[in-house]
C-alpha cells in the first residue's frame, strides 16, 4: 500500500500504545525526521515512560517541530495522538508554518498491542489503558479531516502496516527543476492587443488558427469563437503570467484563450490573481459583487459559448497560488510572496499570493493599505510579482513589481529572466480609471530609486551578531559577534556614509622572515612563497610610504545621486582603510577629487569603461598628511627623547672613560644606540613633507577596482599598472613596477637588486603580487600580495634599535599565519562587496561585506606585520 504525503508535511502517527508506531516510523522515515514523545520524556526526565514529564516532553517536542518546520523539513510526530486535544496543536503548528498536516492511523487489534506492551518490562500499565486509547482512536477516525488533516491514511491490519510504503509528493508549486529562461508578464486585464505586441517584441510568434494576425483583426468584433491562439516562443523560453488576466480591459476572452492555450501546450505557466479568482467564483455560481471591472469580463464572456465559460472556470480553478522555479532562485506570484511562505501550501499562502499583506488600515481612497512586505524581504530568491500598479518597475531587496497598469493607460511590462531585462509596450488607451492615481510619482526623494530610498537607513539586524558571509572567492567568511560589536562602534562614529563604502582594502602580510644578516625581510622569501604555490610570474610594485586610500569619483553630482543615492555630498569621496573620510576639510577634498576626475576625463575612462564612476585603490602621500597626530605624538617624541638621552649618556660615558674607568663596552653600545636613533629619525623624516595645498599631495593608484557593471579583478596587475599609468601627471603618479619570472634566478637577482636600490635610499620597499589579481595555489586562494619592507623603513615599525643583533634575533620569531588567513578573508570580503555593488544588490548586502572587513580588522593580530 502506497501512502502519498506532501514532501513538506507534519505527519501525525495515530495509534494506541504498542500499535507499532515507532517501528513503523523507523522503517519509513529518516531517524532525524521522527520526534518521539517517549524520547522527549527521556530527555527531560531520564525516563521514557514518566507520565509526570508529559507536559515538558511535549513542549520540547513542539519546540523541535517548530524549528524543523521553519526550516522546511518534513516532521513525523511519534506519539499516541488518540485524543483530539493532543492533535490540535499539531494542526496549528502545520498551519503556522504553512505546511500540510497528515495523519497516518495504525489501527491494530487491542490484543496485539496489549501483548506487545506486556512483553516490554518498562511498560507497566494495565489493559484498561489500551482499551481507553482504542476507544478514543475509533471515535477520532471520522473527525480527523474535520480537525484539519489534509490527508488521512488508515492502516487497518498488521499486514497493511507492514506493507505500507511512503511516497513523497512534491508540492504543486515546486517547479525548481524548471530553469527557464522565462518571460514574466504583469497584469494583463484583458489588454489583448498590447499583450500580443509585447509577446512579439519578446520574440514570440502569435497567430490565430484562422490565419489572421490578431493585430490586424478589427477590434472587439473580431471572431470570438472557434479560434485558438497559437504561440511559438524563442527556443527554450517560457512565458509566465502573473495573474489578473481578466476584468476592466477590452478583450478578456482573447487573453484567456491565448493564455489557456499556451499553458495547455506547455509554453506558459500562469498563477492566479485576485480578479481571476473572483471571476471564477462568479462563473461557479457564487454571489459576488460585480465591481472593479468584473462586469466587463462577464459581458464579454457572455458572448462566448457556455462550454468556454466552463473551461475558463476550470482553468482558473486549477491555477497554483505561486511557483518556485530554477532551483529556488525564482519565485513568481500575483501579489508577491514572503520568504517564510515560499514553496509552502496553506490558505494563508494562497491569500498572500492573491492579495498580499495589508496593515488592516485603509487609505484616503478607502482602499486597504498594503503592508510593504518587500521592504522587509531578506530572502535569496528573486520574487517577481504584480497586483499593484506602479509607474516604474523597481527592484527592492530582490523583488520587483512589474504591473505597470496597462489597463489604466500605463504599460504592459515583461521581465526577462535570468537577464533581468524589462520590456514593455505602452497602453493603446486608458481602459479604466484607477481609484488611486498611480502614474504620479510616489512620494520619494527626487532621483532616488526605490532600493536607494529603502537603503537610506540600514538595519542593525543586518550587521550585528555572528555572521556568515558567503563570498564568491573564498566560500563563507565568519564574522564573530565580538568583532562585529567592535566594528559597529568604528562604523558608527567614524566611517563615511555607508552608501560610499563599497570596498575596504584587506590587510597585507609581509613575506616570510629573512635569516640574512641584519635583515628581517628580503625578496627571496616573497618569491619562494609564490613559487611554492605554483605561480611562475609575479609583479613587484614599489611600495609607497603614505596612507592607504580608497578613492571613488563620479562624473558629476548627478551620477553620484543616481548610482550611489548620495545627495549633496559631492561627486566623490576619499576614505582610509577603516572607512574614515580622509580630508577633514571639505574644499580640500573637493579640490583633490577634481584633480582625480580631471585625470580620468583626460584618460577617457568614462567612455572606455562605459561608466559614470570609478573606484580606485591607492596610496596617498605624504604619510604625514594623515599620520600627523601619530608622528607628533609618537614617532617624533621617541626620536626626541632617544637623541637627547643617548647623546647625554654618550658624553658622560666618554667623560667617565677619561677617568680611566672601564666603561668601554657600555660606551660602544650606547653610541651604537645613538646612531640607530639618528637613523630612525631620518627614516620617518623621509616620509614627511609639509602640505599646504592639494598640490603637495601625491596619489598613486594601483588598482582600478571597479567601474559600472565591472569589477576589474579579472585583469592582470600588469593591466592595472598600465591602465592607471595613463592617469599620471599632476598629483597623480604612476607606480614603478617590474615583472619577475621566479623560475629564472637571473630575473630574481635583477628584481632583488631593484629592491635593494629602492630601500637603500630609504624607500619602504615593494609589494609582490601574483600576476593575476585572483590567484589560486595548491590549497585554494593564495595571498593576493605580500610586502617586502626595507631595513631602514622597519625602524619605524620595530623601533629604533631593532637592528641590534640581540633584538633582531628575537624579532625573527614571528608568526605570519594569522595575518595571512586574515588577509585572505578580508580580500574575499572586499571583492565580494564590489561584486555585490556592481550587481546592484541592496546596500545592506554590500555593507555586510565592508562591515565584515572592519570587524575582522579587530581580530588581534600583531600590528607590526
Amino acid at each position: 500500500m502506497t501512502l502519498t504525503i506532501p514532501e513538506l508535511s507534519l505527519v501525525a502517527l495515530v495509534g494506541v500504545s504498542g500499535s507499532g508506531k515507532s517501528t513503523f516510523a523507523r522503517r519509513l522515515f529518516k531517524p532525524t525526521e521522527i520526534l518521539s514523545s517517549d524520547t522527549c520524556r527521556g530527555l527531560v526526565s531520564d525516563d521514557e515512560n514518566s507520565q509526570p514529564a508529559t507536559k515538558d516532553a511535549f513542549e520540547l517536542l513542539h519546540f523541535i517541530a517548530r524549528k524543523r518546520l521553519a526550516a522546511g523539513k518534513l516532521t513525523v510526530v511519534d506519539a499516541t495522538n488518540v485524543q483530539p486535544e493532543s492533535r490540535k496543536p499539531l494542526v496549528q503548528l502545520a498551519r503556522e508554518f504553512h505546511c500540510l498536516p497528515v495523519a497516518i492511523v495504525l489501527d491494530v487489534p487491542e490484543s496485539i498491542a496489549h501483548a506487545r506492551n506486556k512483553a516490554r518490562p518498562d511498560r507497566e500499565f494495565g489493559p484498561h489503558v489500551i482499551r481507553q486509547q482504542a476507544s478514543q482512536l475509533h471515535r477520532s477516525l471520522r473527525r480527523l479531516q474535520r480537525e484539519g488533516f489534509r490527508k488521512v491514511h488508515v492502516l487497518r491490519s498488521l499486514e497493511e502496516i507492514e506493507a505500507a510504503v511512503i511516497e513523497r509528493q512534491p508540492l504543486w508549486n515546486n517547479l525548481r527543476h524548471e530553469h527557464g529562461p522565462f518571460d514574466i508578464i504583469g497584469d494583463v486585464h484583458g489588454c489583448y492587443d498590447e499583450l500580443v505586441e509585447l509577446l512579439q517584441q519578446l520574440g514570440y510568434s502569435v497567430g490565430e488558427a484562422s490565419g489572421m494576425s490578431p493585430t490586424d483583426a478589427p477590434e472587439p468584433t473580431a471572431p470570438r469563437t472557434g479560434t485558438t491562439c497559437v504561440l511559438r516562443g524563442p527556443e527554450g523560453r517560457k512565458l509566465i503570467f502573473l495573474g489578473d488576466l481578466v476584468d476592466r480591459g477590452p478583450r478578456v476572452p482573447q487573453v484567456l484563450k491565448l493564455v489557456m492555450g499556451a499553458v495547455a501546450s506547455g509554453t506558459a505557466l500562469c498563477v492566479p490573481g485576485n480578479h481571476d479568482m473572483k471571476l471564477m467564483r462568479k462563473l461557479r455560481g457564487s454571489n459576488v459583487q460585480i465591481t472593479h471591472g468584473l462586469a466587463e469580463s462577464l459581458e464579454q464572456l457572455a458572448e462566448e459559448p457556455e462550454a468556454f465559460q466552463e473551461q475558463v472556470a476550470d482553468f482558473l480553478d486549477g491555477l497554483i497560488s505561486h511557483y518556485v522555479l530554477d532551483d529556488g532562485r525564482l519565485v513568481v506570484a500575483h501579489a508577491g510572496m514572503k520568504e517564510s511562505m515560499q514553496g509552502r501550501g496553506s490558505s494563508a499562502v494562497r491569500d498572500f499570493a492573491l492579495y498580499g499583506e495589508t496593515t488592516g488600515e485603509t487609505d484616503e481612497f478607502d482602499r486597504p493599505i498594503r503592508y510593504n512586505w518587500a521592504a522587509e524581504y531578506r530572502g535569496s530568491a528573486t520574487v517577481v510579482y504584480g497586483h499593484t500598479p506602479v509607474p516604474e518597475p523597481e527592484w527592492l531587496n530582490r523583488t520587483i513589481n512589474i504591473d505597470t497598469g496597462c489597463v489604466f493607460g500605463g504599460r504592459l511590462t515583461a521581465l526577462r529572466y535570468p537577464e533581468n531585462e524589462l520590456v514593455s509596450v505602452p497602453a493603446r488607451q486608458t481602459y479604466a480609471e484607477p481609484r488611486r492615481p498611480f502614474l504620479e510619482p510616489a512620494e520619494q526623494a527626487p532621483g532616488l530609486s526605490a532600493q536607494q530610498e529603502h537603503d537610506d537607513v540600514l538595519d542593525l539586524a543586518d550587521v550585528t551578531g555572528k555572521r556568515l558571509i558567503n563570498t564568491r572567492l573564498h566560500a563563507s567568511v565568519t564574522v564573530r559577534e565580538e568583532n562585529a560589536t567592535a566594528a559597529l562602534e568604528v562604523m558608527s562614529r567614524f566611517a563615511v556614509n555607508p552608501k560610499w563604502l563599497l570596498y575596504l582594502p584587506p590587510t597585507m602580510s609581509p613575506c616570510g622572515t629573512s635569516q640574512l644578516d641584519g635583515l628581517l625581510e628580503h625578496p627571496a622569501e616573497a618569491f619562494a612563497y609564490y613559487r611554492h604555490e605554483g605561480v611562475p610570474r609575479v609583479i613587484c610594485e614599489e611600495k609607497h610610504m603614505g596612507s592607504r586610500a580608497v578613492v571613488i569619483v563620479c562624473r558629476d553630482e548627478a551620477a553620484a545621486r543616481q548610482r550611489f543615492g548620495i545627495m549633496e555630498e559631492g561627486f566623490g569621496v576619499c576614505y582610509t582603510r577603516t572607512g574614515r573620510r580622509f580630508f577633514d576639510d571639505e574644499p580640500k577634498e573637493t579640490e583633490f577629487l577634481s584633480r582625480v576626475r580631471d585625470a580620468i576625463n583626460v584618460a577617457g575612462f568614462w567612455d572606455e569603461f562605459q561608466t559614470d564612476w570609478v573606484c580606485l585603490d591607492c596610496e596617498l602621500m605624504p604619510w604625514s598628511a594623515k599620520a600627523q597626530a601619530l608622528l607628533t605624538e609618537q614617532y617624533a617624541p621617541v626620536g626626541t627623547a632617544a637623541k637627547a638621552m643617548l647623546a647625554h649618556a654618550t658624553d658622560l660615558l666618554e667623560q667617565t672613560g677619561t677617568r680611566g674607568l672601564d666603561v668601554e663596552e657600555l660606551l660602544a653600545r650606547t653610541s651604537a644606540r645613538r646612531s640607530m636613533a639618528t637613523d630612525y629619525v631620518s627614516a620617518y623624516q623621509r616620509y614627511c613633507w609639509p602640505v599646504t595645498s592639494v598640490n603637495d599631495l601625491k596619489l598613486a593608484p594601483f588598482h582600478l577596482l571597479a567601474t559600472e557593471g565591472r569589477v576589474h579583478t579579472d585583469k592582470s596587475h600588469e593591466w592595472h599598472m598600465h591602465t592607471l599609468a595613463r592617469l599620471a601627471g599632476g598629483i597623480l603618479m604612476a607606480t614603478p613596477f617590474r615583472i619577475v619570472d621566479i623560475t629564472d634566478p637571473q630575473s630574481e637577482v635583477d628584481a632583488t637588486r631593484w629592491w635593494e636600490e629602492l630601500t637603500a635610499t630609504g624607500g619602504e620597499g615593494m609589494v609582490v603580487k601574483p600576476l593575476d589579481f585572483v590567484a589560486r595555489g595548491k590549497r585554494g586562494l593564495i595571498q593576493p600580495a605580500v610586502k617586502c619592507r626595507g631595513r631602514e623603513y622597519l625602524r619605524i615599525i620595530y623601533g629604533p634599535e631593532y637592528t641590534a643583533p640581540e633584538n633582531l634575533d628575537r624579532l625573527r620569531s614571528r608568526g605570519l599565519n594569522r595575518k595571512r588567513s586574515l588577509a585572505l578573508r578580508e580580500f574575499a570580503l572586499g571583492l565580494e562587496a564590489l561584486e555585490r555593488f556592481t550587481r546592484r544588490e541592496p546596500l545592506r548586502r554590500v555593507h555586510e561585506c565592508v562591515f565584515g572587513v572592519l570587524a575582522l580588522e579587530s581580530e588581534p593580530v600583531d600590528p607590526r606585520l
Partner: protein
C-alpha cells in the same frame, strides 16, 4: 633613561657613601625590565657626579608584557619612548639601585645622610604632560630651583612645534634621601603613566614616599590623581588619608573631594568615552580638561533637566540613547514612574562600565527587570528601540558627522518614534565665556560641530515638521543675556496623526 646627581658638598666624593656606590668603578645591576648602570663621570673633592643609566630591553618590553592585548597603551609598541624618557621605570630603578640611600640610611656617613647638601639633578628627557608650568608647580614648592628647557619635536619640521619633553635641571640643598623620594614620586607624576598595574599597595607607597611633604604640597590633588593613575577609588582613599595627615579643615577636604570627583566623573563621562577596538587614525591620547569640566554643576543641571522633562511627559518607558556610563540611568532608576528603562550606547566599553556602576549583577530581580543595557548605534534602524514613551539624547548629536545626521533623524524620529524626545547639545555661542577655550575651538576633540541657538532651532524645527513632532526649547545652565546658556535643549513631542 638617564639621571645624574651632582653635589658640591665637600668632600664631594661622599656622594659615593651616600649612594653606596663606589665612584672608582662602574657597576651594573639586573632589573626585571633591563639593566641599570651607575658610573661617575667626575669624582673630585669639589664636585662629584653620579650617573644612573637604565637600559630597558625594547623587545622584552613588548614581548614579555602580560595582560590583555590592546590595553597596554604604548607598551604594545616597539616605537616607544620608554627606553629613553624618564618614567616609572626610572623610579623603580632608583628604588632598586639607591634603595638604602632613599631610606635615609648610610653606614659610613649617617649624619650626612640626614643633612641638607647642595645637589643638582639632571634629567635629559622628562615628559611633562602639563607643560613647563607643571614642572615649576611641582618642584618649586619643594625648594628646588628649576631650569627646564623644552626639547623641539623635530629640527627638520619646526612647524610641528615643541615636544612634550624637557631637559630638566634641579638645584637644591636638601638631604639626598628627600631628593630621591621626590624623584621617585614625581617622575611618574610628570609622565602621568605607570608601566605596571596600580593597586592598593600604591597608596601605601605614596604615603611612605610622600611623608612629610606631600600633604602640604599645593598640587597634592593632582600628584595623587596622577600617581594613582586616575583610579577614582584609590584617589579618594589617598586624599582621605592625606586629610588626616595634615589635620586640615574637614569642610575644605570635602570640597576638595567633591571637586576631584566631579572632575574625574566629567572626564570619564564626556571625554573620549571609549577606545575603539580598531583605533581610528590619529586617535587622541590624553586631553587637558576643558573649562566646562571645572564647572561640575553643569552636567548635573543637564541631567536634572532631562529627568524633569521625562517625568513631566508622563512617560513610563524611556530609552537613553548614548547612555555612556549610565549616570542618567541611575537617576531614572530612582524614579518609580519609569517601569522600563533602556540604556543604549555604541561603545561596548561604556556599557560595561555602566553595568558596573549600576551594580546590575547584584540588583534585585524586580529592579533589574526595569532596566536594560543595549549595544547599538544611532546610525542603524533598530527594532529594539521602538515602543518607548520617552527618549533622551544627551550631548550626542555633536559627535555625529553632519552628513550622518540624516540617518540619525530617521532612526530616531521615524522608526523608533518615541512620544517625547529630549535632545541636548552645546550652545556654541556660550564658548566665548570659557576663557581658556581658544576661539573657534570646540569643547571636545570629538565634537564634529557645535551649533548656535539659531542653528539648533532651525534643525530641530525642520525635524519636528518632517516627522510630525512639536518642539520647544529650554536653556540649561547659567544663562547669559547675550550668548544664552552653555547647553541647549530641544523637547520634541509626537503629534497625533
Amino acid at each position: 633613561m638617564l639621571l645624574t646627581l651632582t653635589t658640591t658638598h665637600r668632600p664631594a666624593t661622599d656622594l659615593g657613601y651616600l649612594l653606596r656606590k663606589n665612584p672608582a668603578r662602574a657597576q651594573s645591576f639586573n632589573l626585571s625590565f633591563g639593566r641599570a648602570h651607575v658610573f661617575y663621570p667626575e669624582a673630585g673633592e669639589e664636585r662629584c657626579t653620579a650617573a644612573l643609566l637604565v637600559e630597558v630591553d625594547p623587545v622584552g618590553l613588548v614581548r614579555n608584557r602580560r595582560g590583555p592585548a590592546g590595553e597596554g597603551g604604548l607598551l604594545d609598541q616597539y616605537v616607544n619612548d620608554r627606553p629613553y624618557a624618564a618614567s616609572s621605570f626610572l623610579s623603580v630603578a632608583i628604588a632598586d639601585v639607591f634603595g638604602t640611600a632613599m631610606s635615609g640610611a648610610c653606614k659610613e656617613r649617617p649624619e650626612l645622610a640626614q643633612h641638607p647638601i647642595p645637589l643638582r639633578v639632571v634629567l635629559p628627557a622628562v615628559p611633562s604632560r602639563g607643560g613647563t608650568d607643571l614642572l615649576h608647580r611641582l618642584w618649586e614648592p619643594l625648594g628646588y630651583e628649576v631650569h627646564a628647557t623644552r626639547l623641539p619635536l623635530d629640527e627638520q619640521f619646526p612647524d610641528w612645534g615643541e615636544s612634550g619633553f624637557h631637559r630638566l635641571e634641579l638645584e637644591t640643598t636638601q638631604p639626598l634621601h628627600q631628593v630621591l623620594s621626590h624623584l621617585y614620586v614625581l617622575i611618574p607624576v610628570l609622565d602621568n603613566d605607570k608601566h605596571y598595574w596600580v593597586g592598593d599597595e600604591e597608596v601605601a607607597k605614596l604615603m611612605r614616599h610622600g611623608e612629610g611633604w606631600l600633604s602640604t604640597h599645593p598640587e597634592r590633588a593632582a600628584i595623587t590623581r596622577r600617581y594613582l593613575k586616575h583610579q577614582r577609588g584609590l584617589v579618594n582613599d589617598a586624599l582621605a588619608q592625606l586629610a588626616d595627615d595634615a589635620g586640615t579643615d574637614p569642610d575644605e577636604t570635602a570640597g576638595l573631594k567633591a571637586a576631584e570627583e566631579a572632575a574625574l566623573e566629567y572626564s570619564v563621562e564626556t571625554l573620549p568615552q571609549s577606545i575603539p577596538a580598531t583605533p581610528p587614525e590619529g586617535s587622541p591620547k590624553e586631553q587637558e580638561p576643558t573649562p566646562e569640566e571645572r564647572a561640575p554643576s553643569l552636567n548635573e543641571q543637564r541631567l536634572g533637566s532631562v529627568l524633569a522633562v521625562l517625568k513631566g511627559s508622563g512617560a513610563t518607558s524611556v530609552v537613553d540613547l548614548g547612555c555612556g556610563e549610565g549616570k542618567l540611568l541611575r537617576a531614572l532608576l530612582k524614579e518609580r514612574q519609569f517601569t522600563r528603562i533602556l540604556g543604549m550606547d555604541v561603545s561596548h566599553h561604556s556599557l560595561e562600565t555602566a553595568a558596573d556602576r549600576l551594580h546590575l549583577d547584584r540588583m534585585p530581580p524586580k529592579q533589574k527587570a526595569r532596566i536594560g543595557l543595549l549595544h547599538g548605534s544611532l546610525m542603524y534602524r533598530d527594532a529594539r528601540l521602538t515602543g518607548f514613551d520617552g527618549a533622551s539624547v544627551v550631548e550626542v548629536i555633536e559627535h555625529l558627522d553632519p552628513p550622518r545626521l540624516a540617518s540619525f533623524e530617521r532612526v530616531l524620529f521615524e522608526f523608533a518614534r518615541p512620544g517625547t524626545v529630549v535632545v541636548t547639545t552645546p550652545n556654541r555661542e556660550y564658548n566665548v565665556k570659557w576663557e581658556t577655550l581658544p576661539a573657534g575651538k570646540f569643547r571636545h576633540r570629538d565634537h564634529r560641530f557645535e551649533w548656535t541657538r539659531a542653528e539648533f532651532q532651525t534643525w530641530a524645527n525642520a525635524v519636528a515638521e518632517r516627522f510630525g513632532y512639536r518642539v520647544r526649547f529650554l536653556p540649561v545652565g547659567p544663562e547669559d543675556a547675550a550668548v544664552g546658556a552653555p547647553t541647549q535643549m530641544g523637547i520634541f513631542e509626537r503629534q497625533a496623526t
